[in-house]
Amino acid sequence: MSNDTQPAIVLEKVNKWFGQLHVLRDVSLTVGTGEKVVVCGPSGSGKSTLIRCINRLETHQEGRILVDGTELTDDTRALDTIRSEVGMVFQSFNLFPHLTILENCTLAPIWVRKMPKVEADALAMEFLTRVKIPEQALKYPGQLSGGQQQRVAIARALCMRPKIMLFDEPTSALDPEMIKEVLDTMIELAESGMTMVCVTHEMGFARQVADRVLFMDQGEVVESGTPVEMFERPQTDRLKLFLSQILRGH
């Protein structure tokens, strides 16, 4: 159903309310295959809500969202198919604490893609090696550091061989010395050609990897452009203010 000329993600005038609060206002966005988009903005701007709408962890009330050509609706079977093509990495890792690292990674391939166990184990080891922690395969999440857990989360998402990877502030819950190892993994993933939408405050990562940066504030996309354009030549006042606050923190 998907072909390379079709964009990976399309949002058309998406609106979402939480009760009376209008959290996404007429957001439109197109992400092409292999494109890397970074979304930044102050807290409460709706950036997390935006990417959670893409794999329907949140539902939008108005507008259309198309992932890999398929529209997101309440049809659960289509939804499961879409979700297996879209991988997500959470801020709080959300690893399954009662399963080993290996079992965390093989759970979905076995139960969703109906892979035999031996094949799933090999696949998981391949991705655990790629994120550089194959020796932890038989440990439990509670025994790993934060940085290691997040890398496992990335490997777990990759085991489903998704076409698109979503990252919801993947390094915000990590101690500073562990941020680098996770960012390095994400950079390697970007360089291999994966379509990525990433919500993050890590500007260095954005500069190195992003094709496009979106700045969101109060539920709408205020400015967008290449990293150079956005960081060196911000046009709107709001983006200028945000950048000054971020850079002061560094």
């Binding site: 309310w17 009760g19 009376q20 209008h22 009330q61 108005e62 709408e220 452009g225 354009e229 956005m230």
Partner: protein, 380 residues
């Protein structure tokens, strides 16, 4: 790729989401009818609720008999109106006739105002202890003073009050005395047992505490009450004959101390080891460390489960019915034994249920509110 915008014109925020998203219709759609199964459940439940609520209201209020006249022949109340309504209407006349007996037992009629004040004092004590601004050392003094006042009022013999012996006490005051006094006396014992259970230096003491805790936790309260009523007299030397209420109170204290000790132990365990270490590093002795640093924090942590334990004991005091002590439940049961009102136990039990429910529900709401507050202040 796209170009950067120079000026950005904001999309106006809309306050009113589309009609199908918020408002009472949307609420009903989301919460009552959001799927076929859910709609069927709503309809079925609504039907049964209305049907049974209607018939209950009919029985309890519309067709019920509120008072019955006096029978001139016998001088007692004539329950024929109630009997005629049996099955279709409730007989609340039994409550009007017997409520003082149910609430106060066999306490002398003219002195029942003292028992009533005692109940009010207890409620006041609970409410005061619940309010945060009274959580200071002085609270212990307030407790001691109030409990003394309560016993003075119940016994009498001083200040011109008539003396009322203990076997005439009964009803709600007994329930409150057994549970509150039991908890208050069990508390210091529980602290000692909890500390002993956790002690590493004194293995003999730890073993004794473990045996005590496991034995009491493994047996039903009723066996302890039997022990109190039948065995305690055997333990006492010649001539010393403790009163039945006192024996039951001791059994309840021994029982409560164990459950409180477990709750306190949970608090001691939850406290970070750093607190113990900091206190040691300051050179504090064991008792100073416990009294100034550890216990204040640990006890604060476990107030919600402590309140839940108290609720449990409030209900457990009803077991004294089985050894013949007149608490609220016993008074109710005896009230129904009156030949006039024998068939109307349901109404009396409903009234008792309401009284217990009021006490227990308010305490449980309070403890849940506390739990919510405490978990908010502990940032994860």
């Amino acid at each position: 790729m796209s170009t950067a915008t120079t000026t950005h014109i904001s999309v106006p925020g809309r306050e009113q989401p589309p009609m199908l998203v918020a408002g009472p219709v949307a609420w009903a759609r989301a919460n009552l009818f959001n799927s076929i199964g859910s709609s069927l459940v709503t309809l079925a439940l609504a039907y049964f609720l209305l049907k049974y609520a209607a018939s209950f209201i009919d029985w309890a209020f519309i067709k019920s008999v509120w008072t019955v006249p006096m029978d001139p022949a016998t001088g007692k109340l004539d329950p024929t109106a109630c009997r005629a309504a049996k099955g279709t209407g409730a007989c609340w006349a039994v409550i009007w006739d017997k409520y003082r007996f149910i609430l106060f037992g066999r306490y002398p009629f003219e002195e029942q105002w003292r028992a009533a004040i005692v109940v009010v004092l207890f409620i006041g004590l609970f409410v005061t202890s619940a309010m945060r601004r009274f959580w200071r050392r002085e609270l212990a003094l307030i407790w001691v003073a109030t409990l003394t006042a309560i016993f003075v009022l119940m016994w009498g013999g001083v200040f011109g009050l008539r003396y009322v012996p203990q076997d005439e006490w009964g009803g709600l005051p007994i329930t409150l005395i057994l549970s509150t006094f039991g908890l208050a006396c069990a508390f210091p014992i529980a602290v000692l047992v909890a500390l002993g259970r956790r002690s590493t230096n004194l293995p003999a003491v730890k073993l004794l505490c473990v045996i005590y805790i496991e034995v009491i936790r493994g047996v039903p309260l009723i066996s302890l009450l039997f022990m109190a009523s039948v065995m305690f007299p055997l333990f006492m030397p010649e001539g010393l004959n403790p009163d039945k209420l006192l024996r039951a109170q001791v059994a309840i204290i021994l029982f409560a101390a164990v459950y409180l000790a477990e709750v306190i132990r949970g608090g001691l365990q939850a406290l970070p080891k750093g607190q113990y270490e900091a206190a040691d590093a300051l050179g504090l002795s064991y008792w100073k460390k416990m009294g100034l640093i550890i216990l204040p924090q640990a006890l604060r942590l476990v107030i919600p489960p402590l309140v839940n334990t108290f609720i449990g004991f409030f209900k457990d005091t009803s077991l004294v019915l089985i050894i013949g002590i007149f608490d609220l439940l016993t008074s109710g049961k005896v009230a129904v034994a009156d030949p006039i009102w024998q068939a109307f136990s349901t109404e009396v039990y409903i009234m008792l249920g309401l009284i217990y429910f009021c006490f227990c529900f308010s305490m449980s709401r309070y403890s849940r509110g506390l739990e919510r507050e405490f978990s908010k202040s502990v940032r994860r």
